[in-house]
């Protein structure tokens, strides 16, 4: 990488010293990621959208400074950003790199879009099970049994 290119890249997304970098977010899910993580008030937040990506074509990036997000928290991104990679940064170096693990079941996190599903009528926590692969997850409501191929849209 020549100096000019390096400078350009640094200008676009500056490196953070400490915190969490969520890379390979499928475009345009970055804002949804911020919303699900609930980190809007937790210090400096950098949101980058529409970067070229070999893997995804286009990708988004979210950087959360000074906050190391646990797997339990980042796995909540499974449905909106199953391809995301989590980088934990300390002293400007990546000290942990992990993928998102897509759970087999989701309790409470999603809303069933079927208006005639009991979960939209009585106060009952939703329960979905994953069908299909981790990279292309679909979810089935265990109550009305409908299958949803775009589970990201069900995230509350």
């Amino acid at each position: 990488m020549n100096a000019a290119k390096r400078a350009e890249k640094a200008h676009k997304v500056y490196a953070i010293e400490s915190g969490t970098v969520i890379d390979h977010i499928p475009h345009p899910m970055a804002l949804k990621v911020v919303e699900i993580l609930g980190v809007k008030q937790d210090g400096i937040l950098t949101v980058g959208m529409n970067f070229p990506s070999q893997r995804l074509g286009r990708k988004d990036i979210v950087k959360v400074e000074n906050l190391k997000l646990t797997a339990q928290v980042t796995d909540r991104l499974a449905l909106v950003a199953p391809t995301a990679t989590i980088n934990i940064i300390e002293g400007s170096r990546v000290v942990e790199k992990r993928p998102i693990h897509v759970p087999k079941t989701f309790r409470g996190l999603l809303r069933c879009p079927n208006p005639n599903c009991i979960t939209n009528i009585e106060s009952v926590s939703t329960h979905f099970v994953r069908e299909g692969s981790e990279s292309e997850p679909a979810v089935r409501c265990t109550y009305c049994e409908r299958l949803y191929r775009e589970p990201a849209q069900l995230v509350v």
Binding site: C117, I118, V124, T142, E145
Partner: protein
């Protein structure tokens, strides 16, 4: 097969061997074994939506095997009208009976009921979702007729889009390696999500526009009603429905020996002249609802094993 205490909510909850076990048990009940097995047991029929046939079938099943029945057939006289939640109604009724048969217009209501009840729930229909005792009685009829469930050539005719019965039956049959011919007007085809399940189960199926396109013999033709409400134009409905009507002269070629099934009620999709032919087994199919429901009631209450 471990069924005591278990609820019957969806055909999806059952593995192939469990389905076979239940079907065989129903045929034992029909053969006269297990008489009076339900003596001393109480069934609560909670019908939050009217369905006279299904309710009568459950009640007849219970009473003729020595059990007793409590319940309601009209939600307007129940406490639901006073604003009680379904969960609370179930929590209460669960203390009055050994098993509950429930019909409710909301999808997933039976699953919720099974989570709060301390007795087994038998789903007698939850909206457009499931009606598993219908699927079991269809399978019992097939087993009785052919001696097997494996490898049958089954045609499904009519409204395959909205017909809950054919969706569940198609999924159940996919466990038994049959071949399906899905015959419907283009606007009422089997939904993609059901076809995807057939694909993932490796079930062979073909989609046809009418019976004339059949190229090989069918063992069974499962006829469903095409409802007027699905059409904006009455003339269009008449034209389409007419093309899917079964008459005596339909029973030729690949349909010469076909057994005709129908979930009933029938309107005019099978002409009455067909009733007297050996092909017509739809009334026997309806009657099989009794031993099927008796077997399920006995299995979940633990008196049939």
């Amino acid at each position: 097969m471990d069924l005591p205490g278990r609820s019957i909510i969806s055909i999806r909850d059952f593995a192939r061997d469990e389905i076979l076990g239940i079907v065989d048990k129903a045929l034992e009940v029909k053969a006269g074994e297990w008489a009076d097995a339900l003596h001393g047991k109480v069934l609560a029929t909670l019908f939050f939506e009217p369905s006279t046939r299904t309710r009568l079938s459950f009640e007849a099943a219970m009473v003729s095997m020595g059990g007793r029945v409590i319940g309601f057939a009209d939600p307007n006289i129940s406490s639901t009208r006073k604003g009680e939640t379904l969960a609370d109604t179930i929590r209460t009724v669960t203390g009055y009976c050994d098993v509950i048969a429930m019909r409710h217009p909301v999808e997933g209501s039976a699953r919720l009921a099974s989570e709060v009840a301390s007795v087994p729930i038998i789903n007698a229909g939850d909206g457009a979702n499931q009606h598993p005792t219908q699927t079991f009685l269809d399978l019992v009829t097939l087993k009785e007729e052919f001696g097997r469930l494996e490898g049958l050539a089954v045609g499904m005719l009519g409204d395959l889009k909205y017909g809950r019965t054919v969706h569940s039956l198609a999924m159940a049959l996919s466990l038994f390696g049959g071949r399906l011919s899905l015959i419907s007007p283009p606007g009422l085809r089997m939904p993609a999500h059901v076809k995807e399940e057939l694909d993932s189960a490796g079930t062979r199926y073909e989609e046809l526009r009418d019976l004339g396109e059949l190229t090989s013999d069918l063992d069974v033709l499962y006829v469903t009603r095409i409802q007027k409400e699905r059409f904006a134009d009455f003339q269009e409905y008449e034209r389409v429905a007419g093309a899917y009507r079964i008459r005596r002269d339909t029973l030729t070629g690949p349909c010469t020996r076909v057994r005709l099934m129908h979930p009933l009620p029938r309107v005019d999709e099978i002409a009455e002249e067909v009733d007297a032919t050996p092909n017509a087994i739809y009334f026997r199919q309806a009657h099989n609802g009794i031993p099927t429901r008796q077997a399920l009631l006995g299995l979940v209450t633990g008196v049939i094993r």
